[in-house]
Amino acid sequence: MLEDLSSKLEAILKKVRGQGKLSEKNIADSLKEIRRALLEADVNYRVVKQFINDVQEKALGEAVLRSVTPGQQIVKIVHDELVRLMGESNTTLKFAGIPPTVIMLCGLQGSGKTTFAGKLGNHLRKKGRHPMLVAADVYRPAAKTQLEVVGKSLNIPVYSTASNDALQICKESIKAAREKSCDIVILDTAGRLHIDEEMMQELQLIKRELKPQEILFIADGMTGQDAVNAASQFLERLDYDGVVLTKMDGDARGGAALSIRSVTNRPIKFISVGEKMDALEPFHPERLASRILGMGDVVSLVEKAQDAIDLEEAEKLERKLRKDQFNLEDFYSQLQQIKKMGPLEQLLGMIPGVGKQLQGVQIDDRAFVKVEAIINSMTPKERRKPQILNGSRRKRIAAGSGTRVQDVNQLLRQFEEMKKMIKRMKKMKFGRAMPPGMFPFG
């Protein structure tokens, strides 16, 4: 519904064209539309109210630009304002002069603290640090075991004892960290409700005794209007330094981020985007702004492509393409690279306008499986010289890959078409204009 915010505004603002200026009257409807968009994105009601007022002030009196439509212009103002509100340069973590640095995690039940503890540990280790995870959730059954399993899978030490005194565990962990020469301890505390007096006091006690360099509030990215309550209550008690938004790999628009940011003025430091231990991203306000407004996330897509694609491979491929030597082996390695970028569906969701249209359409990576099976059933010679694939070879490949001859034929046809397309592109301009490996296939 929001995918078309821009086009909706376009329709509303058609008449504004030629009026020269954005006025209270001619933007009233579009502000209503934006208000709705923000509310549907779970931005807190009061935050929306304030935000709309600000935008109105900014927009009023602005000359209607010639280069863009009034709709685009308003979306731009809204987008910029969102970015300004959520933006913050100070998203780095503070470290202690004398190790270990103490990082304390807190939040409601089920917000994803334990998983994030693992991800943060993994992230810091990649940066050359030596983290230790501390199992300070003494309430939830098997919470300690969960952290132990997470730590083990990452090969990061976990401090976990039979004690059911969270404060004592945290205190002891410092000594343990020194002994193991770990320079960071990550305290995984129990989830709790912000109105649970006793539990909130426990956190305050841990803070007072451990004096963490960094306290992070972990918030579920799907949280609705209540985000402001939990976030401000935790802030009052713990004065945390930053916010982590989890479960952002779903289709929630993440309006909670804006709510939390506006009421706490604390930066969002990480975005958690999946169940794998490396599914952690730094926060980019402009991307989240687009997401809240439902405008896709092209930047992340390109970045993902850059991450997954091996430059050397890409260059090799480029040489081959120039010489028109592109064969099924290259095609196969292309497939692998695209697969590395993550689930196809997630990638498509990042393309503006595609998300909602594809809802309900089954796109899954099994489309790849068939193609892979077919190519895997070919001999190396066949892959390099697809032209030798005669009828009987095709039959054999179909049988070997559990597909039909038609499927094999279809793949070969697609491959030929792709080659033709590449040739055409080469004539136009081949080079760096396109991110390597991003050309369409089958």
């Binding site: 969960q146 799907m222 309550n229 939990a230 289709d251 628009r253 689930p343 899954d364």
Partner: protein
């Protein structure tokens, strides 16, 4: 029974007090029903996560009734509002004391961190207290220590648990649990599944597979498929419900974490649009803090004036 209702009421009203008190305040402050008052009500509903669309619907209905039935007094509005909220929920003749099948198979699904495992423990306790023999199936073979977590609950409640190794096929666990039901004399089987975001196609396919496996053993099952929703979740709850209905055949909702300050208003939109009844609400951490959902009570709690 009274104490249960009290607890539910307490659970809801305590949490609702902050925001929903404004309704009664707004209503009491004004004697006459006017546009401003209706707008204020709209604001209050939206800030309770009721959602733009469902709020609009409720306000429209209220407006219509005020016009048709010529209500003038703001006290009337109070009553109408409660009625309209309660009306949003589909009628439900589910009775947990009279289960239509033996064994009665319950499948539990939901996104990560909504409280599936805890709700299962509380459900098991409920059925056990009614004298039913309960068997749990540890179908979350993915998340670290999920099996241990359920095992600990099973030990505490003292019910049987069928489990496999972490990382094994959840459908296989489910199959074994169903096979074990007869020899063990289980009357209620509750199946845990791994939390999954509703946007992950392959994980949603896995749910479909679990469902198929259940139906291979017991064709009419699962008799109840409960979607566990976190009351703090915003409008994304609707997407969750849609996708889980589609993949797992959800026919009931458990609304958890109602003991916080969240109002769980998204269920009104879900009930209104998708016609799925809410079966249980979670109002606390104690074992008996999972209670059958009562629309009237919920509406009362929302707009209660204290």
């Amino acid at each position: 029974m009274a104490s249960l209702f009290d607890k539910l009421k307490k659970g809801i009203s305590k949490t609702k007090a902050q925001v929903f008190d404004r309704v009664s305040y707004a209503i009491k402050a004004k004697k006459k029903i006017d546009e401003d008052l209706l707008e204020e009500i709209e604001e209050i509903l939206i800030s309770g996560d009721v959602g733009v669309e469902a709020t609009r619907h409720i306000v429209e209905e209220v407006k219509k009734r005020v016009k048709r039935e010529r209500y003038e007094d703001s006290e009337d509005l109070f009553r109408i509002l409660k009625e309209e909220v309660a009306n949003a929920f589909p009628r439900d003749d589910f009775q947990e004391t009279r289960l239509p099948a033996n064994p009665y198979i319950i499948l539990i699904v939901g996104v990560n961190g909504t409280g599936k495992t805890t709700s299962i423990a509380k459900l098991a306790k409920r059925f056990q207290q009614q004298g039913k023999k309960v068997l749990l199936a540890a179908g979350d073979t993915f998340r670290a220590a999920a099996i241990e977590q359920l095992q600990e609950w099973a030990d505490r409640v003292q019910v049987d648990l069928v489990k496999h190794q972490s990382g094994s096929d959840p459908a296989a666990v489910v199959f074994d649990a169903l096979q074990a039901a007869r020899p063990r004399g289980a009357e209620v089987i509750i199946i845990d599944t791994a939390g999954r975001l509703h946007t992950k196609v392959n994980l949603m396919e896995e749910l479909k597979k679990i469902r198929r496996v259940i139906q291979k053993v017991v064709p009419q099952a699962p008799h109840l498929c409960l979607l566990v929703l976190d009351a703090t979740t915003g409008q994304n709850a609707l997407n969750q419900a849609r996708q889980f209905i589609d993949a797992a055949g959800v026919n009931g909702i458990v609304l958890t974490k109602l003991d916080g300050t969240a109002k769980g208003g998204a269920i009104i939109g879900i009930a209104h649009e998708l016609k799925i009844p809410v079966r249980y609400v979670g109002v606390g951490e104690a074992m008996d803090d999972l209670q059958p959902f009562d629309p009237q009570l919920y509406a009362e709690g929302l707009f209660e004036g204290n």
